[in-house]
Amino acid sequence: MKMEKEKFVDGLGDLSLTRRGFLKSLAAAGLLGGSLGSDWGGIVSLTKGEGGAVSLTREEEKMLSGEYGPGVQESMRLLVKIGDAYGAERMIPLKGAHIHGIAGMKIPLLGSLSIESELMEGATYKIPTSIHAKFLAYPKGIGIPDVIIDLLTPMMDEAWEVHERMGAIPINSCQPFLKCGEEKFDHYKGEIGDHYALTDTTVVWFANSWLGIRSNQESPETCVASGITGVTPEYGMHLTENRYGKVLIEFEKDLDTKEFTYKDYGVLSFFAGELTGDKIPVYNGLPKDMTWSQAKYMCTPQSWFNPAPMFHIVGVTPEAPTVEEAFGGEKPEERIVIGKKEMKEWEEEVTTIHSGEEIGLVSFGCPHCSIEEISEIAGLIKGKKVADGVKLWVATNPPIRELAVSRGYVDTIEKAGGHVNPCVCGGPMPAIFVPLLGWKGMATTSATAASMIGYGFGIPIKISLGTPKQCIKAAITGRWD
């Protein structure tokens, strides 16, 4: 934005109308010292109202004027405000959106916590819009007292249904993109460079980094507004210049990244986020054959400290074929080298269970399990039994569960005493149940689950982090090895 200020001072003549619009708002803000004169009158493409900067198409103007009803109007009004605040020049059309179903949920005594009901009034989703995990809608019979389920599940169902009625796709997942090799489930047609409006950290970080599709970290409200209007203001991650890496992360020779399991990717991402502040990290030295399942563990942990919704992996992610390209030709601002020692210390920092301690819950699916992971879990538990008093949960999205049913994995896991739960949260929410319901410790593969509740929020919780093999062993023996 500083650059634009300088441009203006240099000469007004070169500026496009939309650029002028933005400058007008700077002038209104007093930034330009009132030196503008009065030549603003002829600009017609500005948004009406607060002296904004975003230029709108005729269609967008119609939405703003209320021609398509109050919901569309409120949605557009919100997006224009956001665009003005960020100095966006225009709205860009989107390929799709991902919304938090919680948008519009009413909480007993507090009522609705946000403004979605105004945004959604009489509106439908204009672009393909998927819904996020129905994170607390646990089924009965998996070990949670019925009274809790009777309270939570209807509340969530009601909120999610509102969006379904508006035309949203009920994928109900923090992994709406999970491709499982079957075309009918593959509703995200996003290609590198496509624009989306996405919410939730896993979804946004994964989309930007692994898929190369562009989205800002949207709030539940702005995603709903974008789903309804089909546009978003052009700022932040939609602009190429904001997508380059700033900090280079490399590895000591003593650390073999080829041996990294899900938990290692999570732990690395969590602390890399803390070390990189608000700058996009570029990992150089992770295995070139990294899988989709591994990459999804690197999303939410980074977001806990670092708001920049992206990371690059040199030679792996689409916008980082080389180190130079990942940094856009610039030099890294900082270089961080991570060794075995750091990884070990970090893992110990987020885990609180030691060898021999009892386990009450083994939870997979943070983020939602891929078919590859469910297949691994089923293979490990086949023919064995979950120990008495231990719960084994696997969370995934409905299409993946359907596939797992058809391949017999769900049957294997259920026969062993486990549960494959569609839609629900497999990480932080189960982690909250542990202290809340007085369960023994929790075992997980997810650094998100391990770090967020204990390390992040400071809620004391017994939790351990391990490979799927270690976790399944804990489920069978009831103890952490």
Partner: protein
């Protein structure tokens, strides 16, 4: 009393005044909790401080609680726990602070002509007219 005027970009319009509370580290707006004030997740150095009559001055946002930041902010608002206004030093290509300020109707100015972290100290009196992008700082008296 020494008065300094800063000018910046309006993120969310409105007028506000109050004593400044300065965070020198990244501040996670999603880490505000109703009744608890600032949690360690939002800012380790300011944990336990209360915001209601203050103007929050911060460099940029940390990532904490980003997905549901606006919800936590709105919930905090219902309990009267939000600051009067927010002054932030840099532009925010990534954070949710601007969105949170707009949705909760908290006045906010950012990207100022001088770095507010160098000018404003905790305890200074700050008056802001966010719509005009003006932030007036009345320095506390030095002893």
């Amino acid at each position: 009393m020494e008065k300094i005027v800063l000018r910046g970009h309006c993120a969310s319009p409105g007028k506000a005044e109050g004593k400044a509370l300065v965070s020198y580290e990244l501040f996670g707006i999603g880490g505000l909790m109703p009744l608890l004030g600032i949690t360690p997740a939002a800012s380790k150095s300011l944990a336990g401080e209360y915001l209601p009559d203050k103007i929050l001055v911060m460099p940029n946002a940390s990532g904490v609680g980003v997905s549901l930041a606006t919800y936590l902010v709105n919930m905090t608002k219902q309990f009267g726990g939000l600051p009067q206004g927010i002054v932030a030093s840099t532009d925010f290509p990534y954070s949710m602070t601007v969105i949170s300020a707009i949705i909760s109707e908290t006045p906010m100015v950012y990207n100022l002509d001088k770095d507010p972290l160098e000018i404003i100290e905790t305890g200074d009196f700050v008056k802001m007219d966010a719509g005009k992008g003006v932030v007036e700082v009345y320095k506390k008296e030095r002893r």
